[in-house]
Structures are given as structure tokens and as C-alpha cells.
Symmetry: C2
Subunit: 186 residues, 2 copies
């Protein structure tokens, strides 16, 4: 599931538009981490921006503040157990990559890694907004590169060929919804 | 589908957590409007806050700036055609309530109406953040009351009993995903 092709920046909002849960990966110096974030959304089309909530108590928060970079990874249902695991533990207590067998690939424009088993990846550089970060734990970033698994997202369209490829939406307490039937409104 | 029961404020984030598309309703003086917004997310648990992107060119933007209030309505698939219609036209050009047969109910704490055919409603008061609004079209608000259709969301859990009750996720160009299968990760 790790073949990937570039996604045009102007279409990268489509990777988040339907509200899937994300994995936030980050790195600084010799430290790196990955956590889950349901509270992420597109903020602009072109140049593309995103907004994401990163709790001040997380290791991820420190790595993003130090590096000014992160990746929003869109996981497939096949790795839902890992999404829950990395969302339930702190990177201060455990190396989540080793503990949960989370593989990575290098990103192209940021130091944070791309996470294996995802179907889309948005490489992001923080637009510093100290007030939002401090008061709301809210980070705004520009998307500087984007990728998708080409059999799952191509030419601006999602095509899920099996259950394991589907994106997922977090509810609470370990419960998710898979992305469901596609339909056209009139 | 318009029976509704209050949702505890501390659980109201669950109405948006899985990333459904929303309808933003607004009112000021004798004007009111409704538009679609896919870029909305929870921002905090308790007191609950939300973030939503409202384009500066919309009638809704003016009504929200004047009143400091709006409602985030979570539409069911049964009204997907109306969601697309109110997302495709400006309230400056047409009374969308009359043109598309969009019914309303009064809210409890804000002047903006609750939209018929939805399964959840979050009444919101804007927390003024001029810089975010001007630079990013981003509005932050506190949820001051929340409601759900009790057969669809009750005690913090979603239960969709038929296709028409499902929440929906916007892709682009009139295409949506229905909320899909619920599952537990381990």
C-alpha cells in the first residue's frame, strides 16, 4: 500500500475534505513521533492550508514547535489498530514506531516521516500563529507537498477497491466509521 | 426526522468528530440564510468549541459578523440534494429556504434557525478573533446548546437505522460519501 504518486497541490484539500482521521508525524533532531488527530481540516485551496489541533501536553507538540513541520497522514482501515494505539500512548513513554511496527518513508520537503499503510500524505510547514497555538492548541500550516496511493486516489477522485483501503473516521473509545458509499446529489 | 433531544455540551464534539459535512444557518434582523460547509471541526471538549471556515464573499459571513451567532446543522443523507443546492447558490440571489423547501425550527439560545432534516444541531456563539477571520476566513465559536435526533444519536452513540438517516461527507462536484460501517479497533 506504499506506492505513492504526487498530488497536485491545488487538489490536496480533497485528501481531507471528507473528514477522515489523520496521523500527525513529526521529527526534530534525533527524535520523532506519530499521534492520531481527528481534529484536522482543510483551510484553503491554493496555496493549500490546513488547520489541526495539537494538545499542548503531547510530545508531538514540542517536535512541531521546534521544527515548524509535520505530516498529516491519512490512514487506511487496514491499520486502524495502529491508529488507535498511537492515539492512546505518549511518545514520551514509548517509541511508538518500534512498539507498534509503524513503518515510515522519507518525506520530500519536511523532516517528519510519511507513515506506511496510509493512502494519502500532506507535508506541512507551520504558519506561526502564537495566539492560536497557545489559546486553542490550533496550528495552521501550508501544504508544501502531497502524495496519494495512486490506486486509491487519482486525478482528484477516491476509489476504494477493498475494505482495507478505505479511509476512516474516528468516533470515540476505539470506535471508527469506515468511509461509506459514494453517491451524487442532484 | 425533526424530533430532537438535548445533547450534553461535553458530548457535543461527538456530533462533528467523524467529519460530516455541515449546514451553517445564520440570521440577523429580518435576514437569514443557510449554506453548506465541509470545513468545520471540533476545537475543544468542555466548554465545547468549534472552528469553521466561512468565505468572506458569502451572505452568511455578513450575518454571522453582525449577529455573532450561527448554528452548525449536521444533515442526513435524505436531504443531500438540498445540501448541494444551498451550497451552490448565494443567499444574495435567492431565498434558499423558499427555493429549496428548507424548513426550520427555532433554536434555544441563538437567533439562527435549526434546519429540518438534520440529525444534529450545534448552537454557536462566535469568540471574536479578528485576525483569523480576516486572514483565514476562520471562525471560532463556543457551542452553547446542542441537539440530536434521539433515534440517530443518543447517550453519546450514533445509530443509523436506514440509509436516509446517515450523516454525509462532502468530496467535490456534487459527490458525497455516506458514513459507512462502524467498527472497533483493538
Amino acid at each position: 500500500m506504499n506506492r505513492r504518486e504526487p498530488v497536485e497541490l491545488s487538489k490536496s484539500y480533497l485528501l481531507l475534505n471528507h473528514g477522515p482521521v489523520t496521523l500527525v508525524s513529526s521529527a526534530h533532531g534525533d527524535k520523532r513521533n506519530v499521534m492520531a488527530a481527528a481534529w484536522a481540516m482543510p483551510l484553503d485551496f491554493d496555496p493549500p492550508k490546513v488547520a489541526v489541533v495539537i494538545d499542548s501536553r503531547t510530545l508531538t507538540r514540542g517536535l512541531i514547535e521546534a521544527s515548524g513541520e509535520f505530516v498529516l497522514n491519512v490512514p487506511a482501515r487496514a491499520i486502524a489498530d495502529k491508529v488507535l494505539a498511537v492515539g492512546s500512548q505518549s511518545g514520551r513513554d514509548v517509541d511508538k514506531f518500534a512498539a507498534y511496527g509503524v513503518g515510515t518513508m522519507p518525506a520530500s520537503k519536511v523532516g517528519a516521516p510519511l507513515i506506511d499503510g496510509c493512502v494519502a500524505w500532506l507535508e506541512c510547514k507551520v504558519i506561526p500563529e502564537a495566539h492560536n497555538e497557545k489559546r486553542y492548541d490550533l496550528f495552521i500550516a501550508e501544504v508544501v507537498a502531497a502524495w496519494s496511493a495512486p490506486d486509491v486516489f487519482n486525478n482528484g477522485r477516491w476509489s476504494f477497491h477493498d475494505e482495507g483501503q478505505k479511509t476512516i473516521h474516528y468516533v470515540a473509545g476505539g470506535t471508527f466509521f469506515a468511509t461509506g458509499e459514494e453517491f451524487e446529489a442532484k
